[in-house]
């Protein structure tokens, strides 16, 4: 940590000197595997209200997709975000939006990554 904040030759030693901890960093919550983490922007309403249009999704490739995970998959040549549901031998891709029907995926389903969180940044006026 910055040496300029440490008491040097002058003044009194800080009683907190030995209790210093790393300041909270949002990345420690969202990113478990930095080298295999990618960010994607949500462009549809399939996962509303859980994920909104414009949200930044954090996708981790190091995690193996499991039942119930929100995943980024390749569907008809584009990236899509869906909830993965394993029922028996079948793989279902479910939307969170009640208006959307689940679709069944084949064994050749390509998963880009498991979504571990979303980030939404609020713009301010002026």
């Amino acid at each position: 940590m910055g040496s300029e904040t440490q008491t040097g030759r002058y003044g009194f030693p800080s009683p907190g000197e030995d209790c210093r901890e790393d300041r909270l960093d949002i990345r420690s919550l969202l990113v478990r595997h930095p080298s295999s983490t990618y960010y994607l922007r949500s462009e549809g309403d399939a996962m509303a209200p859980l994920i909104s249009r414009g949200d930044i999704m954090v996708a981790d490739r190091a995690l193996r997709p499991r039942n119930g995970d929100i995943v980024i998959v390749e569907l008809d040549g584009s990236f899509c975000v869906r909830r993965l549901v394993v029922s028996g031998q079948r793989l279902l891709l479910c939307a969170e939006n009640p208006g959307w029907e689940p679709s069944e995926a084949g064994a050749d389903l390509v998963c880009f990554g498991v979504v571990t969180g979303v980030v939404r940044v609020f713009g301010r006026q002026g």
Partner: protein
């Protein structure tokens, strides 16, 4: 045992990873200035397109084959390369990156090479999204051979000692790592065709070859002697192709001054100084009257200060410059690099000169913290892109404005 992890069709695979619509489609990546093909996906190779082919010459072939064409996006490739090395470091020991798409590594103790290679291959593939071949053998040179075989089989290959001879017998001399094209004619004239012929070379005959070549032969015989890779840079090169040819010496000097600044910040960042400068000017490489002008100059004292480099370059260039030619590219290289601390001051350098040099070093170090390429681009004066890169992909992993979308 030593391993080599090598990404297949690295540039093309990076482009495809973020473009699911290109799955199964042929992809090529063009060199700087969209000059020629530098990388191809397996599908593009299958169409008979070759690496190195000038873009303008195979344009119709690419269109007919519905090939997706990309300008090279080194920002993306470098980040994907860094990610791959980081992941490899978490899975293997003593990882040494050898180029942007390949790294040597050692096996963790107590692992069965066969099981390890398979797991490494699968884990790398899942975490990076790229196909990375894994070759494992007794030496680096043999690991290269194993990797080459892995690419044509299931993706990983452990070359066991008892199989080495048989494999080398079916490997051409030209495929051996470290046997440059320089040696090929000589080796053919000696009747040496396979890697095994090379490994069994007569000791007396071998003595006539340089030490680096003898090391390669020893490595083929299972004696590891290319221990570590050189990590000290011996030279830097800055080069650029012009989208509009330049003719006058003044115009050329302007580009050289940018190269010198670029090299200066590169050296400053690593605390190095150069003792020699080298300049190359070329006309259209594909034209019949192709000309290449070259000159070099020694610096009076080792320096990384751009004006010092330029001062040495200028008279050397004026001596060889041919007016009236249409120059398409320029390159400047610096050689004889040494750490700044051991730079030798000549007898006539008084204190004030030394002090001035110190200040310049500090300046150069400050400048060096900024992106050197950007300064290079900005200082070329014209707002037009100096490099043609018509088919540049987004920087998916390094800019928020460029991240991919998902529906």
């Amino acid at each position: 045992m030593i391993g080599l992890a090598d990404c297949n069709s690295f540039y093309a695979s990076c482009e495809k990873l973020f473009r699911p619509d290109l799955r199964g489609r042929p992809v090529v990546v063009l060199s700087n200035n969209d000059g020629c093909i530098v990388a191809l996906s397996a599908e593009a190779k299958a169409l008979g397109i070759r690496r190195g082919e000038p873009y303008f010459r195979c344009r119709t072939q690419l269109e007919r084959g519905h090939v997706a064409v990309f300008s090279s996006n080194y920002t993306l490739y470098q980040d994907m390369s860094d990610r791959t090395v980081e992941i490899l470091r978490s899975l293997a020991c003593d990882v040494q990156p050898y180029s942007i798409d390949e790294s040597f590594f050692s096996l963790p103790g107590g692992t069965d090479p066969e099981t390890y290679a398979g797991r490494l291959y699968n884990t790398l593939k899942r975490r990076t999204g790229l196909t990375i071949s894994v070759g494992i053998a007794r030496t680096r040179t043999l690991a290269k051979v194993a990797n080459h075989m892995a690419k044509h089989t299931r993706g990983w290959m452990v070359l066991r000692e008892e199989d080495e001879r048989a494999v080398l017998a079916s490997t051409a001399v030209s495929e051996v790592w470290g046997v440059g094209w320089r040696y090929q004619a000589t080796l053919v004239s000696l009747g040496l065709k396979t890697a095994l012929d090379l490994a069994c070379m007569d000791e007396r005959r071998l003595q006539r070859f340089p030490v680096t070549f003898r090391r390669t032969v020893a490595e083929l015989n299972g004696v590891a002697c290319i221990e570590s890779l050189p990590d000290v840079r011996r030279s830097f090169i800055s080069g650029i192709s012009f989208s509009v040819p330049k003719t006058s010496l003044a115009q050329i000097m302007q580009t050289l001054s940018c190269h010198c600044r670029n090299l200066s910040s590169k050296m400053a960042r690593r605390n190095l100084a150069a003792s020699e400068v080298f300049v190359q000017l070329g006309t259209d490489r594909f034209a019949e009257d192709y000309r290449l002008l070259e000159c070099s100059a020694a610096l009076p004292r080792a320096s990384n200060y751009a004006p010092d480099l330029l001062a040495a370059v200028k008279p050397a260039l004026e001596a060889v410059f041919v007016p009236g030619l249409r120059y398409k590219n320029s390159r400047v290289g610096v050689f004889g690099l040494c750490p700044l601390e051991c730079r030798q001051w000549s007898l006539f350098d008084d204190e004030s000169r030394i002090e001035a040099a110190r200040k310049r070093d500090t300046m150069a170090a400050l400048v060096g913290q900024r992106g050197d390429l950007r300064t290079l681009t900005d200082s070329f004066g014209d707002k037009r892109r100096i490099c043609r890169s018509e088919f540049l992909s987004p920087c998916y992993t390094t800019r928020w404005s460029d991240i991919p979308g998902a529906g």
